[in-house]
């Protein structure tokens, strides 16, 4: 193992330990709740970015959060399955719907795809309202069971506290991020990028473009539905407003502000967005205004997102450096 690679592993290990210790460091003030929501949303935002790698902006992303949340709630409360089965089944439900839908709608490109997904998400939310006898409609569903681990005749552990949920979310989030990392940094990621750059050229080189898009869409929606399921069991309450426009804008905002061309962009975006909304929580009515202003500023001044700032500063630094050298020689 090379030296730089070794130090990389050391840093990752340190980061992991810090993440493990967070619940001990922060207690009270609802900070842990904010961090938990950050972990949840990181999964969904990274999944959205994975789909956007193929050049498709999925505006039905919040609808897939809803699919995960409602299917998991249904399986848990009506069918009586344990959470540990509901979670993967919710993900698979999302993946299955995305798979079926993808073969049809991913033939459509650019702004038209965006519009189709807007329509899909609107129809979907209306349907949830329509079937309010099952979904609870506006009133929603309360007391969604928390996950628990039971060893018969010995003990039962219930994930009731924020701390216990923290570790559950950490594990699922890290696993999702690692899987998405592996996919995006290799054959699949490169091919997805090629599909976005020039789909016809890729197709003529033997890439089955539609298949690659559908698999990106399905994978993204799988993780999103997973995140939706976690949301339902964590918050214990969902209604049809939970997964509306505001949620969708939040995810899109995080990806764009964070930096859509960077793997870690959505993480930065979600952390910024959630911390910000916590900071201005006492004046909630101004939140959309704050978001809008930030979005405009980011798009104006660093359209590649916050993640592009380090390389931007480096370029600026390089531009400044020669000037200084010239002035130094002039003085000397």
């Amino acid at each position: 193992m090379s030296k730089s690679k070794l130090s990389q592993w050391v840093w990752l290990f340190v980061l992991f330990v810090v993440l493990l210790l967070i619940p001990i460091g922060v207690s009270g003030f609802g900070i842990l709740n904010i961090i938990n929501m950050i972990y949840l949303m990181i999964i969904a935002a990274m999944a959205l970015n994975l789909i956007m790698r193929t050049g498709h902006v999925n505006f039905a992303h919040a609808a897939f959060l809803a699919i995960g949340a409602y299917s998991s709630t249904f399986l848990s409360m009506k069918v009586g399955l344990p959470f540990w089965l509901c979670l993967p089944l919710a993900g698979l439900t999302g993946a299955l719907i995305a798979w079926g839908l993808g073969w049809i709608i991913l033939r459509i490109k650019g702004p038209y795809f965006f519009l189709v997904t807007v329509a899909f998400s609107e129809v979907f939310i209306r349907l949830l309202d329509w079937f309010s006898s099952v979904t609870g409609g506006h009133q929603g569903i309360e007391q969604i069971p928390k996950p628990s681990i039971t060893i018969p005749n010995l003990f039962t552990f219930r994930f009731k506290s924020e701390v216990s949920f923290y570790y559950l979310l950490l594990v699922v989030m890290l696993a999702s991020v690692i899987i998405m990392y592996r996919l995006q940094h290799g054959h699949w990621g490169l091919t997805w990028r090629a599909v976005r750059e020039a789909d016809m050229v890729a197709e003529s080189a033997g890439v089955n473009v539609l298949r690659y898009k559908v698999i990106a869409f399905t994978t993204g929606c799988f993780f999103t539905a997973l995140s939706g399921s976690l949301y339902a069991h964590y918050v214990s309450f969902i209604n049809t407003d939970t997964f509306g426009l505001l949620m969708m804008f939040g995810l899109l905002f995080a990806v764009v502000v964070g930096g859509r061309d960077y793997f870690y962009g959505p993480i930065i975006g979600i952390v910024l967005l959630r911390s910000l909304s916590a900071a201005v929580a006492h004046m909630a009515e101004y939140q959309p205004m704050v978001y809008g202003t930030i979005l405009i500023l980011v798009i104006l001044f660093f359209p590649a997102g916050v993640a592009s700032l380090p390389s931007k500063f480096e370029a600026m630094w390089r531009r400044v450096l020669p000037i200084r050298r010239v002035s130094e020689t002039a003085r000397g």
Binding site: L183, G186, W188, E197, A198, M200, S204, G206
Partner: protein
Amino acid sequence: MKLLEVKGLRKQFGGLVAIDDLSFHIEKGEMLGMIGPNGAGKSTAFNLITGFYSPTAGEVKFKGEGITGLNPSQIAGRGIVRTWQVASLFANMSVLQSVTIGCHLQGRIDFWHAIAGGTSVRKKEEEVRKKANQILNLMGLTGFKDMLSKHLPHGFLRRLGVAIALGADPELMLLDEPVSGMNSEEIREAMALIKGINKEGITILLVEHNMRAVMSTCDRILVLHHGRKIAEGLPKAIVQDQKVIQAYLGGAAKVA
């Protein structure tokens, strides 16, 4: 042996007949030139053979098997690969990455394997990297390996297009105006390179505006005009063909 056989091909866009009853064939190892004035239907013929359009009538056979109705990617899998005009390559990807995409058919990695990783995946990636580097070397692009393809000089961008196509190990390569916009020195170099590829055993169908380039390198030439084949034969015969001269001079021969 007939490598590609086109029979009675027809393509209609609404009321416009772009290709009308086109039949021709390409022998294995041959270099066939396809020429014709603007709007003659050359690009349409290209898109029909490579599966980007489906024909209104007629059929395309490759190595004796019908390939009409297959996807472009399936047709690439059979061994027919095309190049594109400049603007449409992978602009924000490096030259090496672009050629790696060209090697897609060999370098495909199964979804679950990609997640699991392991030595078989690494071995395949290593194979593809080696192959891509070989192609870059062959096309004289090694020095530009890490450059973004949008920053490549014009002439080299054309080479990259051919390099991407070579990645798929084609038996038949369709070249879409490979020397347009080049000066005569560049044209000479590029045509020598293409002839070299042809000598390696890759059959070539070449669409080109530059008459001299086509005449000096192609074994046979096919002339399209208004979607119809008006002449086919050796370069020497084509330049003297009355119909061809008339098509290119737009009926001026009659006036004179």
